[in-house]
């Protein structure tokens, strides 16, 4: 437990035990990734089924990556995923910020009803509307398109409510000063309020990106043409294509992991900040 004397702590059995458990958990959580990386680099000369298993490849080779890229258009799927994610980020940032501003900062008749609509939408489980959303998207001629993939989550109710809270918590003084200066709602929005909630907007953008990047069920339902597959749906084919060679499956997952792990490494603190904000609110 945290103590005020943390700096002067001596090595006790308790401390050793704590670190042992933490290291064990870290190995359990990161180990599979490291094994996957090792597997992806193993060459034809490596015994995949050696006992005990060998972590360091004896004949490391990039050939597995080349084979995967040759047989499955991973870069193409990557581009599709990026396009969907870009639309999701843009839609959520613009849509949620605007709606959140109206709900959090402006006073007007019907505000309660509007807020209620977003809360109601938040409570609807995705599975309940899955089939109806598909019928709707299909009816609009958007089945098997990237726009169809992004549409249902292009402005998420949760993000609108997050932004509403962020705006509502801002002090009113700046706004009042801007009104006296003759600023209209749009000017106050862009110049006064938005700059103060940049942190929350970043969190919304990151979660929109990761959510869209990792989504599987909905694109699986909407997309039927391989040309339009996003990364998750495309990767799902790895197992069928390379059933007999775990090295190739491993190489495929590593290729897919590079962008999202890089993204996470760069924006780590926002990930944790967003989660903490969400957790504290509950």
């Amino acid at each position: 437990m945290p103590t005020s004397a943390a700096g002067r702590r001596r090595v006790t059995p308790g401390l050793v035990g704590r670190y042992l458990i933490l290291i064990l958990m870290a190995v359990l959580l990161a180990g599979p990734l490291i094994w996957q990386l090792s597997l992806s680099l193993k060459g034809a000369g490596d015994d995949l089924y050696a006992r005990p298993p060998e972590l360091i490849p004896g004949h490391p080779t990039p050939a597995n990556f080349a084979t995967v890229l040759d047989r499955i258009p991973v870069p193409h799927y990557l581009v599709n995923s990026l396009m969907v994610a870009a639309m999701a980020v843009a839609g959520n940032v613009v849509g949620a910020t605007c709606a959140g501003y109206a709900l959090g900062k402006l006073r007007f008749r019907g505000r309660g009803v509007a807020a209620g609509i977003f809360v109601a939408a938040l409570l609807v489980p995705a599975e309940t509307v899955l089939i109806s959303q598909f019928l709707l998207v299909r009816g609009a001629g958007l089945a098997n398109t990237l726009l169809g993939v992004v549409l249902p989550t292009i402005v998420a109710a949760l993000n609108v409510l997050l932004m509403r809270n962020a705006f509502a918590n801002l002090p009113a003084e700046f706004d009042e000063a801007a009104v006296i200066d003759g600023a209209n709602a749009w000017q106050r929005f862009i110049r006064v309020s938005v700059p103060q909630v940049k942190g929350v907007i970043t969190v919304v953008a990151i979660f929109a990106f990761v959510g869209s990047w990792n989504d599987f069920l909905w694109p699986l339902i909407v997309l039927s043409d391989e040309d339009n597959y996003t990364l998750t749906v495309g990767l799902n084919r790895l197992r069928g294509t390379f059933y007999d060679d775990p090295r190739l499956i491993a190489a495929g997952t590593i290729i897919a992991l590079v962008p999202i792990v890089t993204f996470f490494a760069m924006l780590q603190r926002y990930f944790f900040r967003g989660l903490e904000a969400g957790g504290l609110k509950g």
């Binding site: 959580l29 006992r51 509007a114 019928l135 402005v155």
Partner: protein, 309 residues
């Protein structure tokens, strides 16, 4: 909301907020969000309510059939299997999700400079798509995968364990994978909650000579009780909805003879494809959302009861 403005009554049109009483501006701000949420969430929800009572197919609108779809569910073996599997998922996964990340967070909150390293490492699985997680574990749990090779090396098993082909082993493997993925997520939420516990409580416990276990039970757990309840709700809803892990581990088949189907998988199977029975799938969706709603309410009631003690 801005209590300040509620306190002072609006004086005509001269305050920031009063100017917008009758204007169209707020609705322009709301338009994109409201349109998406209404057209793509609320309208489909109403449509699901309607579909559930029809025999509609993907290419045929269908007619009103009353409760036929719900009656059919009782005779549908796959529905029974899916309901059982999804419910088992909640029962088995939720205790781990509530307790394990808390223990980790408590261990981690005193780890000083190394905390960042451990936090990042344990969070890695969270940012990965269920498809990638599923593929990684397919490799690991295969008959000739790392887990079986390790067990064989240690002479713990004579034959490879059929993690991916036995109905129950596959279900439990998927649960393990779900816990593996979610640990870091809930741990970070707990870390934030732990930071709010008054440090003097720990000092007092130390002075009373309380060991780590007693400190954990008497200081940490009561300090994060509301967060535990929240995570109970979040993880049970998530567990009941499980899809990706099972889909990938069974290679999309739902296991041998469909023995590992879950509710979400059943909806996906019934409701898509050219032969999709959208009416029946709608009815299953409806049952699923009723159960999810009941889960939420049950947890809220339990939470309230706990507080009165």
């Amino acid at each position: 909301m801005t209590t300040k403005h509620k306190a002072s009554p609006p004086r005509g049109g001269d305050t920031a907020l009063a100017t917008h009483r009758w204007r169209v501006t707020p609705w322009l701000f709301l338009l994109p969000g409201l349109a998406v949420v209404t057209l793509l969430v609320l309208v489909p929800f109403l449509n699901t309510l309607r579909l559930a009572f029809t025999d509609s197919m993907l290419l045929r609108p269908g007619d009103f059939v009353g409760l036929d779809n719900f009656r059919r569910m009782f005779d549908d073996e796959r529905f029974g299997t899916a309901l059982l599997n999804s419910s088992l998922y909640v029962v088995c996964v939720v205790p781990f999700m509530v307790v394990l990340p808390l223990v980790l967070a408590a261990l981690l909150s005193g780890a000083g400079r190394l905390m960042g390293f451990f936090r990042t490492t344990m969070y890695l699985p969270v940012i990965m798509s269920p498809v990638i997680v599923g593929l990684i574990w397919t490799n690991l749990l295969d008959k000739q995968g790392l887990v079986n090779e390790l067990l064989g090396t240690l002479k713990m098993v004579a034959q490879p364990v059929p993690f991916l082909t036995d109905r129950w082993l596959l279900l439990f493997s998927a649960m393990f994978v779900t816990v593996w993925t979610g640990l870091g997520y809930y741990m970070v939420i707990y870390l934030a909650a732990l930071a709010n516990i008054d440090p003097s409580l720990y000092d007092a416990a130390a002075m009373d000579g309380a060991g780590p276990v007693r400190t954990f039970l008497n200081v940490t757990v009561p300090g994060v009780r509301s967060t535990m309840a929240l995570i109970g709700v979040l993880s049970s809803v998530a567990a009941f909805r499980v899809f990706g892990e099972i889909y990938v581990l069974t290679d999309g088949t739902g296991g041998v003879g469909g023995g590992d189907l879950t509710m979400t998988m059943l909806i996906q199977r019934e409701g898509t494809g050219l032969q999709a029975r959208t009416g029946y799938a709608g009815a299953i969706s409806l049952v699923m959302s009723v159960i999810l709603g009941a889960l939420l309410i049950a947890q809220l009631v339990m939470q309230r009861k706990q507080r009165t003690f």
